[in-house]
């Protein structure tokens, strides 16, 4: 029923840093998320691509040294397609994603709090409808818990170098100039 207090404290601390960073990065805000979805502001993309590049180097280095393991989710096509479409529609209507909705809630946004309430109800619906949803999710087959390098018989470092180059290129092209939508 409960994890050990140490593990709970660790999770809380990790979450505090995560929420702190989301708020400092301006992404726990409706207007910043919507400006990204409307392709008027690229703050969200800059944060995500940088996080992916840095995280990929760190995690794969740790895995190589035997200090961590990968935790890959199964590539069940129908589940990802249906889930992705529903997720995208919901995110655009709410104007926040799950992590940033919780963060905006912490910052006192009332509509974000209502969104989090909706998220709880959505999770309840999912649990109640689990069997038909899971069957539908498996209906187009699955590749299992597979990575792109494993799928293509290539080294993960090839992909990681590409990610780092992409992140650096984005920084060079977009820079840190303030976009038009930022103060809207």
């Amino acid at each position: 029923m409960f994890d050990s207090p140490l593990r709970l404290a660790l999770g809380l601390g990790t979450g505090v840093v995560f929420g702190f960073l989301l708020q400092k990065g301006q992404v726990a805000k409706y207007r910043v998320i919507m400006a990204q979805l409307l392709l008027r502001d690229w703050t969200v993309a800059k944060i995500m691509l940088t996080a992916i590049a840095v995280g990929a180097v760190g995690v794969y280095a740790l895995v190589g040294g035997g200090h961590a393991e990968l935790h890959v989710k199964p590539a069940a096509f129908a589940a990802l397609l249906i889930g992705g479409v529903l997720f995208g529609v919901g995110m655009a209507v709410l104007g926040l994603c799950p992590g940033t909705a919780v963060a905006a809630c912490g910052a006192g946004r009332k509509d974000a709090a209502v969104g989090v309430l909706g998220m709880l109800v959505g999770a309840g619906v999912y649990v109640a409808a689990y069997e038909p949803v899971a069957a539908l999710g498996r209906s187009l087959g699955t590749l299992g818990k597979v990575t792109l390098p494993a799928l293509t018989y290539t080294s993960p470092w090839l992909w990681i170098v590409a990610l780092v180059v992409a992140a650096l290129a984005m920084r060079a092209v977009a820079g840190s100039r303030r976009p038009e939508g930022a103060s809207a």
């Binding site: 691509l49 995690v59 200090h67 104007g95 799950p98 999770a123 999710g137």
Partner: protein, 172 residues
């Protein structure tokens, strides 16, 4: 420029911080960052309380990788709210219920905005649990592991979200 914008950090610094935090979580918690699993856990625990005999809840628990518990991910999601509050409390009031962009197109009515936020949140969570991840769990944690599932989900989700946003707010 608002106080929060003056105190903002560069998106590259924030991104690098989140990437480093992922590596930290992989070592210390044997997990990456993710926000929606604890919502599923909360739903299971609530349904167990309300109807412990309901066989579908028990079958759901049996089918799950881990038994539902108040766990690391639960604490993580709570921490996100706390960390955000720590930054926001110094930035003055941000408690407006209806965002400006929304009000410009759909009016200043609070009820309409709340209804949309609730429905959007519910739909988003249904999608996240169907695909087993969100913008954190798939969008960052999964993509940085180069997971095939996460890159597919992220692409579908991005196109779906951008198309919906355009439909909601694009030029008429």
């Amino acid at each position: 420029m608002s106080t929060s914008e003056r105190q903002a950090w560069s998106p590259y610094v924030v991104g690098a911080g989140i990437g480093a935090l992922e590596a930290f979580a992989f070592v210390t918690a044997k997990k990456g960052l993710g926000v929606t699993t604890p919502f599923e856990t909360a739903a299971v625990l609530a349904q167990q309380k309300v109807a412990p005999e309901a066989s579908r809840v028990n079958r759901f628990i049996a089918a799950r990788d881990e038994a539902p518990a108040v766990d690391w991910e639960f604490a993580l999601a709570s921490g996100v709210a706390v960390g955000s509050w720590l930054v926001a409390r110094g930035q003055g009031p941000e408690a407006r219920a209806v965002p400006r962009l929304w009000a410009r197109r759909y009016g200043p009515g609070v009820g309409r905005r709340y209804a949309a936020a609730f429905a959007g949140g519910a739909l988003m969570m249904l999608g996240a649990r169907t695909a087993k991840g969100c913008t954190s769990g798939h969008g960052i944690t999964g993509t940085l592991q180069l997971a095939a599932s996460s890159w597919l989900f992220s692409a579908v989700m991005a196109v779906s979200a951008a198309a919906t946003a355009r439909w909601l707010f694009g030029r008429r």
